[in-house]
């Protein structure tokens, strides 16, 4: 089975869960006075759930054929290991780590570490130039966000 049908199968599963929630769990919470309304909070989700099940089933059952891209620069998922998969996975992990470290470590440490390590992982070897540019850029961005836009960004770890 091709990837697009697998994805449609996942969406079909999500749609079934969504529809189950819309049809069987939402209406019980409805206050009696709202039950006389022609529209309930579950009405629109019910329509969407049924529509989504139907359309995803069309793809899962293969009624609409996948149209493979002929563009040579697009990624062929069947040969994923021929690409820089390791780098991509590493950067995704780095992003998740950045999300988790932003509050406890503060903006500067987490941002400089994230950008420097990501740049190094992608092949940048002029590490001092990289660090220097990132440090200046981080300060400018922090200043703009915190001082100009007024959005709080903890600069350093909470112990400082």
């Amino acid at each position: 089975m091709s990837l697009d049908r697998w994805i449609a199968l996942v969406i079909l599963s999500i749609s079934l869960l969504y529809s189950y929630a819309a049809f069987f769990t939402m209406d019980q919470l409805l206050p009696p006075f709202m039950q006389r309304n022609p529209i309930w909070p579950s009405t629109f989700p019910k329509i969407l759930g049924v529509l989504s099940i139907l359309v995803s089933a069309i793809i899962v059952l293969g009624f609409e054929k996948n149209k493979d891209s002929k563009d040579g620069t697009e990624i062929d998922y069947r040969r994923l290991f021929d690409y820089n998969l390791g780098q991509a996975v590493f950067l995704i992990i780095m992003m998740a780590a950045y999300a988790l470290s932003l509050r406890p470590l503060g903006f500067f440490i987490s941002t400089i570490t994230f950008l420097t390590v990501s740049g190094y992982a992608l092949g940048e070897r002029k590490i001092f130039r990289l660090f220097f540019i990132i440090a200046i850029a981080s300060f400018i961005i922090w200043y703009l966000v915190e001082q100009v836009l007024g959005i709080y960004l903890r600069p350093l770890p909470s112990i400082f």
Binding site: S52, V55, A96, L100
Partner: protein, 497 residues
């Protein structure tokens, strides 16, 4: 009217207001380029500055300049990085980005600049001529018509964005609509599909979703296949000029889309996003067969259409704001908030009671469009230098701006984890050629669609509104036709074979 126009000219050409419009355009252009910081965020942030000015005309001129600049800047990042910071410029990336990757970034940016200028300027002329009449037309549209109009917009997007894969495009649209139902709705004060998570109480964030499905997969694709980056790095901006032939080719598109975009912008709830997608869909549909194949691969008409339409729609969205006091979009809703904070009540009496505000804003639109053209065209080679930045710098910074855009929008680090999760899902979907734009537009229109549907159901005590309002029925038939159209074409071409 003439007297008001003269007062407006005097106000708009005062040194202070000229400074406001130029400053607003510059701030908007640069911030609009950054993926994640759309006009809504920056206008909201600029409101305290505008209010401290104390002058409603100057404040509105500044905020309007920021609005135009952000839309214009958003097109630049759409073309160069395929990272639209604003929903209204998503359609720009369909052909703008392929042009940039084919080494025609300069040409793409020039076409975008000219189209935006023309759309904005023609829109401003139309605003002056038709404002009173158009506001009365927009008043005739009820919730039922808005609901049907949104269905038409979604059908057109689903039918035309999928390039032959209509079911996938419809599925993505429905998925976007489903995502929009997460959280507390406006009409029903109860949380839905939050799974008990506090972070989902207010639903998914538009900025996070936009970053996750556009910027993040693009950066991951650049990492996976450096050949994609090599295309960009070699893309020198040598040829900014467009040929006479190209100018001739886009001129009718600009004319049509200025008018269409403006009228769509006038309708509350429609705005620049629907205008740009509909503009793209219409031009693709009416193009000759040989040109139709170019859409999505770097068509100049495909670039000019959404760029003209979204700028004309921005102008159009000021009509209900200034004449009726009804915001046509999230951005104009923020502008409305700013005006109320300045003790100005927009509505039918604004034109007569405070002509200096009404007309100065309109005149400043002309000035703003000239500023954007003068500012952007000479800066194009410098703006396009973004493409020559090594990927070891560019990719981490794209990822960083994606993360920061999402963080600034919500000020919540959980949002960053949602961003990464959605980004990974979007990347896998792109492997299988699932179109992402319908998902985003479905998400954006989801709340408005449900609100208008609910209001119509309540007003007509059920789905009778479809039968009782002929315009609604016509629009819904049009929507059904748009969905069936690709299959009819497919059947026709099979028969021809």
């Amino acid at each position: 009217m003439l007297e008001g126009l003269l007062i407006g000219l005097e106000t708009a050409f005062s040194l202070k207001n000229l400074f406001m419009v130029i400053g607003g355009c510059i701030i908007g252009t640069f911030i609009g380029m950054l993926p994640g910081l759309g006009p809504m965020s920056i206008i909201a942030i600029m409101i305290p500055i505008a209010i401290t000015l104390g002058d409603p005309s100057a404040a509105l001129i500044l905020l309007a300049g920021v609005y135009y600049g952000a839309i214009f800047g958003g097109s630049t990042s759409s073309i160069l990085l395929n990272a639209p910071g604003v929903a209204g410029t998503v359609a720009t990336s369909f052909d703008g980005y392929p042009m940039a990757r084919a080494g025609k970034a300069g040409k793409a940016l020039t076409i975008a600049a000219i189209s935006s200028f023309a759309g904005g300027t023609i829109g401003a002329i139309l605003l002056m001529i038709f404002a009173p009449a158009l506001s009365s037309v927009a008043l005739l549209f009820h919730s039922a018509e808005y609901f049907a109009l949104m269905i038409v917009g979604l059908s057109a997007i689903a039918a035309f964005a999928g390039s032959g894969q209509v079911a996938k495009a419809i599925l993505m649209t429905v998925l976007g609509l489903m995502m929009a139902t997460v959280g507390e709705g406006a009409l029903f004060n109860m949380p839905r599909f939050t799974m008990g998570l506090m972070d989902l109480q207010s639903g998914f964030s538009f900025i996070t979703l936009a970053m996750a499905i556009f910027a993040l997969p693009e950066a991951i694709f650049l990492v996976l296949n450096p050949a994609r980056a090599a295309h960009s790095e070699s893309g020198k901006i040598e040829n900014l000029r467009i040929t006479k032939q190209e100018a001739k080719s886009i001129a009718p598109v600009i004319g049509r889309q200025s008018a269409q975009g403006f009228f769509i912008g006038v309708l509350p709830g429609a705005g620049a996003t629907i205008a740009s997608f509909l503009g793209y869909a219409v031009e693709r549909n009416i193009a000759p067969e040989h040109e139709k194949k170019e859409f999505g691969k770097g068509s100049i008409k495909g670039l000019a259409a959404p760029e003209t339409a979204n700028n004309a729609a921005c102008t159009g969205s000021f009509v209900p704001l200034l004449t009726l006091g009804i915001p046509g979009s999230g951005t104009t809703a923020i502008l409305l908030g700013a005006l109320i904070a300045l003790n100005v009540s927009p509505g039918p009496r604004l034109m007569t009671d405070e002509p200096q505000i009404f007309w100065a804003v309109i005149i400043s639109m002309y000035i703003g469009n000239v500023v954007l053209l003068i500012l952007n065209l000479p800066l194009i080679p410098y703006i396009a230098k973004v493409l020559t930045i090594p990927r070891t710098f560019l990719i981490p910074f794209i990822l960083f701006f994606t993360l920061m855009g999402s963080y600034i929008g919500q000020n919540n680090s959980t949002e960053l984890l949602i961003l990464v999760g959605l980004g990974v899902c979007a990347t896998i979907m792109r492997f299988a050629n699932y179109p992402m734009a319908p998902l985003l537009i479905g998400f954006i229109l989801g709340r408005m669609l449900e609100d208008n549907f609910s209001r119509s159901m309540q007003l007509y005590d059920g789905i009778n509104f479809i039968v009782e309002r002929p315009m609604t029925m016509i629009l819904l038939f049009l929507a059904a036709f748009l969905v069936v159209l690709p299959y009819l074409r497919l059947g026709k071409s099979k028969n021809a074979d």
